[in-house]
């Protein structure tokens, strides 16, 4: 069954005949004639049809995989404070980890042209391009020309080495691209607001097309040395549909004062522009 994206988007969309038939079949499974007896149930039936059609069917690549290709961008400020896209806006820190974090360097590594790591690279406020070939998904990020060339064939993770972007292994679960990332080390931050992690960080990213112009990005963030339990982030990625839009160079170099020269860190007239205040301060995750 294929449904239109507009239908699942809201009341403005129109259901395809296939969706109506599906809802009729669903109603038909109920004891005969009851639908007629309860006409006020009709809106509920349409609501159920809406759920049935909420599953957007992504177009396929030549090898039959969901097509995620295109230029995508997050439109949020999670790179400054990841709590914005965290479930419940809270990060379940272990007390010892919170203490460690309070003592950590107060300047975002990115302010010195450091690497953003995973998952932060996914919500840096710059576009990135996904390119697919059979057995491989390539992420090209405009931000500091990062790239991830990820095999979708299973293999064990590397052992005994850390990379800023970790070691990624992917597979398909239905329409979702699942990327398992380990070997990330402890040098990167999750955002500018000093949300940190240890070298035990394990990230599982999920990319699911939810429309012609959207991907839902979800990630489970686990780190038994830092968090009491795994927690989740979720955000939409939006396709950049500007005609002729292409990725360009986005470089980072350090100025005379050792600070990065790029759009995120312009020197401020007063205050330290390198230290960001958390948007969602909390007893569990807020460093004040």
């Amino acid at each position: 069954m294929r449904c239109t994206y507009r239908f699942s988007e809201g009341p403005g969309g129109a259901a395809l005949p296939g969706c109506r038939r599906a809802s009729a079949r669903r109603a038909g499974r109920k004891p005969g004639g009851r639908l007629k007896a309860w006409p006020h149930m009709l809106p509920l039936t349409f609501l159920l049809a809406g759920f049935a059609c909420a599953q957007y069917q992504a177009p396929r690549t030549a090898d039959g995989k969901p097509d995620l290709q295109g230029i995508w961008e997050p439109r949020n400020a999670a790179a400054f404070d990841v709590s914005e896209i965290a479930e419940g806006h809270e990060i379940p820190y272990l007390p010892a980890a919170l203490e460690r974090e309070q003592k950590a360097d107060r300047v975002d590594p990115i302010a010195h042209c450091g690497m953003p790591g995973v998952p932060r690279i996914s919500y840096m406020p710059f576009p990135f391009q996904i390119v697919q070939r059979p057995g491989v998904v390539v992420f090209l990020y405009e931000y500091l020309h990062n790239e991830r060339i990820i095999s979708t064939n299973p293999r064990p993770h590397l052992d005994g080495i850390d990379f800023y972007l970790g070691d990624s292994v992917a597979h398909w679960e239905g329409d979702t691209l699942v990327i398992d990332v380990t070997d990330l080390g402890d040098k990167t931050w999750l955002d500018s607001a000093r949300h940190t992690h240890s070298d035990a960080l394990h990230v599982v990213e999920r990319y699911t097309r939810t429309g012609p112009n959207t991907i839902t990005y979800e990630a489970t963030i686990d780190d038994p040395k830092t968090y009491s339990h795994a927690w989740k982030i979720k955000m939409p990625l939006h396709r950049n549909n500007e005609p002729g839009f292409e990725l360009r160079e986005q470089e980072c170099t350090e100025g005379d004062d050792g600070r990065a020269i790029h759009p995120l860190y312009r020197p401020a007239a007063n205050g330290d522009p390198l230290e960001f205040v958390r948007t969602y301060p909390s007893g569990k995750g807020g460093a004040q």
């Binding site: 590397l158 005994g160 080495i161 990379f163």
Partner: protein, 131 residues
Amino acid sequence: MKWKLSVLAIAAGLLLAAVPVRAHHSFAAEYDKSKPLKLTGTVTKFDLTNPHSWIYIDVTGADGKVVNWGFETASPSNLYRRGFRKDTVKVGTVVTIEGFQAKDDTHTGNAQRLTLADGTHYVMGTEENPG
């Protein structure tokens, strides 16, 4: 924490003394092939990291004086392909490093080969001069 800071201070001092930029550079620009080194010492700091790893060892001279030497190695990906892992050496591990000294005669060098006490050895050289 204090020892960490002092090691960092030494490391920073060495870095500053050697060259202003520690990013990407050529072997020939910084190291002297006519100054081969073979030093045995105890690891004081090591981090398998991009772009190049540095390994620091305390070397006790004939006069009993301890000097901290810093050696640049190949990129972590290349070391990994040669069998080297982040826990192959730790602080306190005794290693012998063969390489070439920096042109500016500081206590820095380019590592070509690292040998553990049990005789296991690794090629450590950079891509341009893999040893």
